[in-house]
């Protein structure tokens, strides 16, 4: 059946809530209002106020409460109305989501999912255009995935809920209305696996979330120009799927990373490091990385566009790499 991405997320939630009575949802306006991006629409009616919980605007403590509930065996899905607000909950996410399993010598697990929209788009301005994957990536014990299609949105949501590890699921403000036909049957996506988007021979382009679409736009142009790029959506932002990534590098010997993070401290920097550590000998050219500019996201539309990587830059980078 055909669904929009936000509906796919909702299906994932609903199926897991049906499957496992321990799954519950908390966040601001997730209940009666149905979620500001409609991801939880209708769920409060179906599951009641004890399983779909509207919270006050208190990110730090409702995230903490989710973690506490997870320590006791529930499987809470915590929504950051916008991912950026979870900066207020950073301590809980870092110290308790990420490290409690360790500091307790394995006694407790934290099977929580933290999810919500992030990324640059719609002129939402500086605070609402965060790419928290760069801030969160150093947290040990946390897994991070980014969805980019209705198919993988649903599959990753379901896998994240079933995981015993704390998982952050990144959604993107600009992708909620993507449409796709997805299977009617139950399926999940492996949390730790990258997704082959377009097989190719000449250069490996690694990307995720919204930048996947800028890359695919560039790929079209590149193909017209006679290039044959391989496009991989890395999906798992921590840990990286170095198996699939490695196979591609061994084939193409050239890598371009395209990310929406700012270049300092982004996912691209860590990914580049991992590739150099593991596949240096296979590289015929420096690993390139295109990132957003190191600036707060400006409001004005023209400036906002210049903040993130545009398809033309990707085309140019590939041409340079393949010289």
């Amino acid at each position: 059946h055909e669904v929009l991405l936000f509906e796919a997320l909702r299906e994932g939630l609903e199926e897991e809530m049906d499957r496992d009575p321990r799954v519950c949802i908390m966040g601001e306006d997730v209940g009666h209002y149905g979620g500001s991006y409609k991801v939880t629409k209708g769920l409060a009616e179906k599951y009641g106020d004890l399983r779909v919980l509207d919270t006050p605007i208190a990110e730090n403590s409702f995230t903490g409460m989710g973690i506490g509930a997870a320590m006791m065996g529930l499987r809470p899905v915590v929504e950051g109305m916008n991912m950026g607000f979870l900066l207020l909950a950073f301590n809980q996410i870092s110290n308790n989501c990420g490290m409690l399993h360790y500091t307790s010598g394995g006694q407790f697990t934290i099977p929580i999912v933290i999810r919500g929209p992030g990324g640059v788009g719609r002129q939402l301005g500086a605070e609402h255009s965060q790419r928290l994957e760069s801030y969160f990536q150093s947290i040990p014990g946390l897994q991070m995935v980014a969805c980019s299609t209705p198919y993988n949105a649903k599959g990753l949501m379901k896998a994240a809920i079933r995981s015993e590890n704390p998982v952050v699921l990144f959604e993107h403000v600009l992708l909620y209305n993507l449409k796709e036909r997805i299977p009617d049957e139950d399926y999940i996506c492996c949390l730790e696996e990258a997704e082959m988007v377009r097989p190719g021979e000449q250069v490996t382009i690694l990307t995720y979330s919204r930048m996947r679409y800028h890359v695919m736009q560039a790929a079209k142009t590149l193909v017209n120009k006679g290039y044959d790029p391989e496009v991989i959506d890395i999906r798992s932002l921590k840990p990286f799927d170095l198996y699939r990534i490695g196979n591609s590098v061994k084939k193409t010997h050239r890598v371009l990373i395209v990310e929406e993070c700012m270049r300092t401290g982004g996912i691209g920097a860590s990914l580049r490091a991992a590739i150099i550590d593991n596949f240096w000998d296979y590289l015929d050219a420096p690993v390139m990385c295109l990132s957003s500019q190191d600036v707060p996201t400006p409001y004005a539309g023209t400036l906002e566009d210049w903040t993130v990587v545009q398809p033309a830059q990707i085309v140019a980078a590939v041409e340079q790499l393949c010289q």
């Binding site: 500001s36 006050p56 403590s61 301005g125 500086a126 409001y299 539309g301 023209t302």
Partner: protein, 361 residues
Amino acid sequence: WTVLTIETSIPFTGHRIDPPSRSVDTTRKELLSFFRDMARMRRMEISADSLYKAKLIRGFCHLYDGQEAVAIGMEAAITKRDSIITAYRDHCTFLGRGGTLVEVFSELMGRRSGCSKGKGGSMHFYKKEAGFYGGHGIVGAQVPLGCGLAFAQKYSKDETVTFALYGDGAANQGQLFEALNISALWDLPVILVCENNHYGMGTAEWRASKSPAYYKRGDYVPGLKVDGMDVLAVKQACKFAKEHVLKNGPIILEMDTYRYHGHSMSDPGSTYRTRDEISGVRQERDPIERVRKLILTYEMACASELKDIEKEIRKEVDEAIRQAKESPMPDPFELFTNVYVKGYGVEALGADRKEVKAFLP
């Protein structure tokens, strides 16, 4: 008729404090300026709505119509040496501090002549020289900043005060309680103003606050509940509060108010409240109509004079929009200015401190 004494709509309710009198002094001049200023705000917000629908404004846009009496009453009680800080619903506060309509519309449309050069947008208006410290997008996070402003005022022995505004939804953010405790310990001249418009996005106050009596939420800090739709009551309360905090440290003012629009432009504003509720407030408590009635009752002006003022305002607003539309989009290089303060010989520091390495498409 130089000074006129008018009763506030309802008495103030105090928490750990004796409330001020209901009798407020005012003048014809003041009431007419209240009328004009509030009507200008109203018109501005309604035009912003149209510009949004025309897609000239994008992103977030939180309108203040319904709440004008708070901004105007507050200004009437203080000077520009006092400070104000608020959240994202900031257009009218900016205007109240002396910002211009052109700056407002330019910023809303992301133009160069916007008050933040088009880089801030709707949620980021500021006016430093008039004591307006923004304009903040993260719910509640402006309140510690406001307490910090009050600290600086005390530090420099300025005898000025800070009004830190936040909503009923924000009232549940932990940082408010932290900052209030510190401000009370340090006796800071800060007034926490809770603009209770009864909803935080789609959530009614009682669904987000176990105790929605926000003027009491400071517990050991005194508070005052004010009819925030009555500009004279607001003025009286703010005057009272300013004197109080200079002597005794923080106070909380809860302004009972209402937003007519939805939360932001994507919210129709009618799924979590009834149309009757909205129209009831419009009919019975509208802050502009209240002042219009006062002016007419006391025969300070006639109905057609007020209509004329409104017509003038309409022109003024349209003219500002026209000017704002003429302002160009920001220069591309503005992407890199104001990241860091100049001083290294560079606009922005990239990986390389000597030079920005940014290529625009």
